[in-house]
Assembly symmetry: C2
Homo-oligomer: 129 residues x 2
DNA sequence: GCTCAAATGGTACTTTAGTATGAACGATTT
DNA sequence: AAATCGTTCATACTAAAGTACCATTTGAGC
């Protein structure tokens, strides 16, 4: 509402430009506030989507669980349905390294399997659903 | 835009109620169109969310891929991160049966692994993301 | 009664996943 | 300089997942 009031004050300068038609003026107001509504809607939805990750919480969760960059790389590809060998090829590392990272990941996520790790990671907002 | 024009026409009746202040009038327009923006935003988002599942599309996808009830049961538990043995226990069947269902599932979903099956199933709206 | 598909269970096998442990290297911190 | 940490790779093993084929049962439909 504060934004709306501020907008009204600013727009009141229309009296300085009396040569534009009233309808055009109203149209401009309508457009501006339609845009405002769209923007507000987006903001509300962003908060809803981030309810599990709390805004910039992705980084916070990563830090709190002490997850490294490489482990995140593996996790993302894992969630895409790739096998350890395919992940290794994409990251230009050996399958052994992938296993090391994934094994460490399971410990940090308290998961027994990769499917469980993926599910938990999505729950806490570590990766996109 | 058609909606906006129609709105303008309707609101022009302000000339019949000259006793309300200009600021109040502007405020009303602002509120109405902010609401319009919110509504439009919601509509756009609903279409996005239903892009993969298309309303009642879940059943349609299941039928088109010829997926049975039991296979769906297995798929859902699979996506929750359960092992074949845990799925077997929950459905009161043997692990052999779970393997049969999951193997058939992979064929129908063109997946090589369970993680890939889960990812694809979510993409096409078979299961909730 | 017969047929067909889904569901169930099994054996046997190959492949992938996962664990445990150790080691080497570079960058950073103390 | 020494210690720490992340990344890398490896071996050796166990466990789980997945495939292929086959068999039985059951319920719905003809």
């Amino acid at each position: 509402m504060a934004v709306i009031v501020a907008g009204l004050k600013a727009i009141e300068y229309r009296f300085l430009i009396k040569d534009i038609g009233t309808e055009i003026y109203i149209g401009l107001i309508a457009l501006v506030f339609t845009g405002l509504g769209l923007w507000v809607g987006q903001q509300i939805l962003n908060r809803k989507e981030q309810s599990g990750s709390s805004k910039k919480g992705r980084d916070e969760v990563i830090q709190s669980l002490d997850i490294s960059e490489r482990e995140m790389d593996v996790l993302v590809l894992m969630a895409d349905g790739l096998s350890n060998q395919e992940i290794a090829d994409k990251l230009f590392i050996s399958i052994h390294t992938v296993k090391t990272h994934s094994s460490n990941l399971f410990s940090k996520l308290h998961a027994k399997r990769r499917t469980q790790a993926i599910q938990k990671a999505k729950e806490i907002g570590l990766i996109e659903a």
